[in-house]
């Protein structure tokens, strides 16, 4: 028998809520997270190097989440990186003290999301960082991305990052948003349903207007220039399909760029375990297909949080609770859970509308592939330009697996988690197919880079079993 009834992957708002709810139903729960402390990206614990931090709402929520998780009786394996899994279910991780294998009949994957990137010329220069990375620098480390920062891409993270830089005393020389101003208005319905969250966004916007930060809508970066790092950024207009049109507008002196185009649900674990997925552009793209309690097509495999579709931190805890209820029902625990599941599911769907609208706002339309110039590096690990990928596509590559086999795109240490979506956009652009038709990359262990020595462990060469030679 396993030591646990449930293993939760990820200790962000969804995973922590799942673990706490499952503990309240008397399940034996283990939680695994890559970070040194629970909280996920949104409530990431401040670096231990900061002895006094500004109190803010996210910090308070994170501290409350960490305290409740610690008090729940769930076993937290922090600083552990899951690099392989097998059905049903062995979770293989590597931590500070070496390898760890845990087993349980139920798994909730609350792995969150990664940032979607559209490569632009010069994005490989030091000083160009992800929008999510910028929030980590600012919130967890108390470090400004630069002295003169361009914040570019799409979606609500643009305003969050820019306003945090301004609040920290930095200068934002431009906010460059590919979406036209009208697409924000088109989402106003969902936003008005949550005046509290809308006020938060309006607060960010107000702070930027007050600091006289230029906000360029319907605009994208044409190129980032510099020798050893960012020196300047050229921007220009894009059409409604985010295709660059006309001449570049201006060149802005800057020493850093924060870049990102919304979030992509992390589906590597559910792909590895063979769950069915469906394409849902409003929720960030490919997501696992689930039933009413967030169970995937693989029995016992549940998902929660942004990995189940990007709905944001506000909706995440309800999805965690819902998945935990599903696990308890599957185990025949907690009595009749049907009415509670129905209620939590309805609450979750309602609370997710705002986040889904924000997610949709960040989603690039197909024309955005035109932002990538021929010479631009797409796959950073392997140093592959758009022209290289396009010639493989012209040579017949129709899936990410084809591209990988023909060019090594996605084969480097990041495992395609930075360039995969851009590569799929290029296939779609060249073939005229929908993004959905390109499918997802296959997931294979190791899901994360692991040192070979850590997997192999300590052994003596003489201890290796050598099979007897086959008789002739």
């Amino acid at each position: 028998m396993s030591d646990y009834d449930l293993i939760v992957l990820g200790a962000g708002p969804a995973g922590a809520a799942a673990a706490i709810k499952a503990r309240s139903l008397d399940l034996r729960v283990a939680v695994i997270d890559e970070a040194p402390a629970a909280g996920g990206q949104v409530y990431r614990a401040p670096s231990p190097a900061l002895t006094a931090t500004q109190p803010d709402a996210d910090r308070a929520r994170g501290d409350a989440l960490r305290a409740r998780l610690a008090a729940s009786g769930a076993v937290l394996y922090a600083n552990h990186r899951v690099w392989s899994l097998t059905a049903i279910f062995s979770v293989i991780a590597i931590g500070p003290d070496g390898p760890l294998t845990l087993e349980a009949p139920n798994l909730i994957v609350a792995a969150g999301a990664v940032e979607r990137h559209i490569p632009v010329t010069g994005w490989t220069l030091p000083g160009v960082i992800g929008l999510a990375g910028a929030t980590i620098l600012l919130k967890a480390h108390g470090v400004l991305p630069g002295r003169r920062v361009v914040v570019a891409g799409s979606g609500p993270l643009l305003l969050l990052v820019a306003s945090k830089i301004v609040a920290a005393g930095g200068e934002v020389v431009a906010v460059v948003d590919a979406a036209p101003r009208t697409s924000w208005l088109a989402r106003a319905g969902a936003m008005l349903a949550r005046p509290d969250l809308m006020a938060k966004g309006a607060g960010w916007l107000l702070a930027l207007l007050k600091a006289r930060v230029p906000i360029h809508s319907g605009t994208a970066i044409r190129a980032i220039h510099g020798t050893d790092g960012v020196e300047s950024v050229t921007i220009g207009p894009v059409d409604r399909d985010w295709r660059p049109v006309g001449e570049a507008e201006r060149t802005i002196a800057a020493d850093a760029v924060c870049l990102g185009f919304g979030l992509l649900p992390s589906t590597d674990v559910t792909r590895l375990l063979g769950a069915e997925h469906r394409y849902e552009p409003e929720l960030g793209g490919w997501i696992p297909a689930v039933d009413t309690s967030l169970q995937t097509s693989v029995p016992g495999l549940f998902v929660a949080g942004d990995g189940a579709g990007v709905r944001g931190a506000d909706a995440a805890p309800l999805s965690g609770e819902l998945a935990a209820l599903g696990v308890a029902r599957r185990l025949g625990r907690g009595g009749d859970l049907a009415s509670e599941i129905t209620k939590v599911e309805a609450d979750w769907r309602k609370s997710g509308r705002f986040g889904a609208a924000m997610s949709a706002l960040a989603m690039p339309p197909p024309g955005a592939a035109a932002m990538i110039d021929d010479g631009t590096t797409v796959c950073r690990c392997e140093g592959l330009s758009r022209a290289t990928l396009d010639s493989a596509i012209a040579g017949g590559a129709r899936t990410l697996a084809d591209l990988k086999a023909m060019t090594r795109c996605g084969m480097g240490p990041c495992g395609g988690r930075v360039c995969g979506e851009a590569a799929a956009m290029l296939i779609a652009a060249a073939t005229g197919w929908d993004r959905e038709a390109i499918g997802q990359p296959s997931a294979r262990p190791p899901l994360r880079p692991v040192p070979l020595a850590a997997i192999a462990g300590a052994f003596d060469y003489d201890e290796l079993p050598i099979p007897a030679p086959a008789p002739l």
Partner: protein, 92 residues
């Protein structure tokens, strides 16, 4: 890029570490990626493909752009807290 990008907040004691032979300081427990970035040491490797400089990009363990040699082991700088006497070599 001039100066130190750290802002506000009281911090832990100063520790020193070596980066490509140069002695730099950090606050104890700060991640190596943040410490280097804040002090303008942003180039962590040279691409073997295009010869261009590269540095930390995602700060969350995804992109692998901040992998450096730390006490002889290849590790992401964004997942490594700095302590006194760390010896770091960039991937040039």
């Amino acid at each position: 890029m001039a100066g130190d990008l750290r802002i506000g907040s009281a911090r832990t004691r100063t520790v020193s570490f070596r980066f490509d032979g140069e002695v730099l300081t950090a606050r104890e427990g700060e991640t190596l990626a943040a410490a280097l970035y804040a002090q303008g040491r942003r180039t962590l490797r040279i691409s073997r493909d295009d010869g261009g400089p590269r540095g930390a990009f995602c700060f969350m363990g995804v992109c692998q752009e901040c992998v450096v040699s730390i006490d002889g082991r290849l590790t992401e700088a964004c997942r490594t807290p700095v302590h006194d006497g760390l010896v770091v070599e960039s991937m040039r």
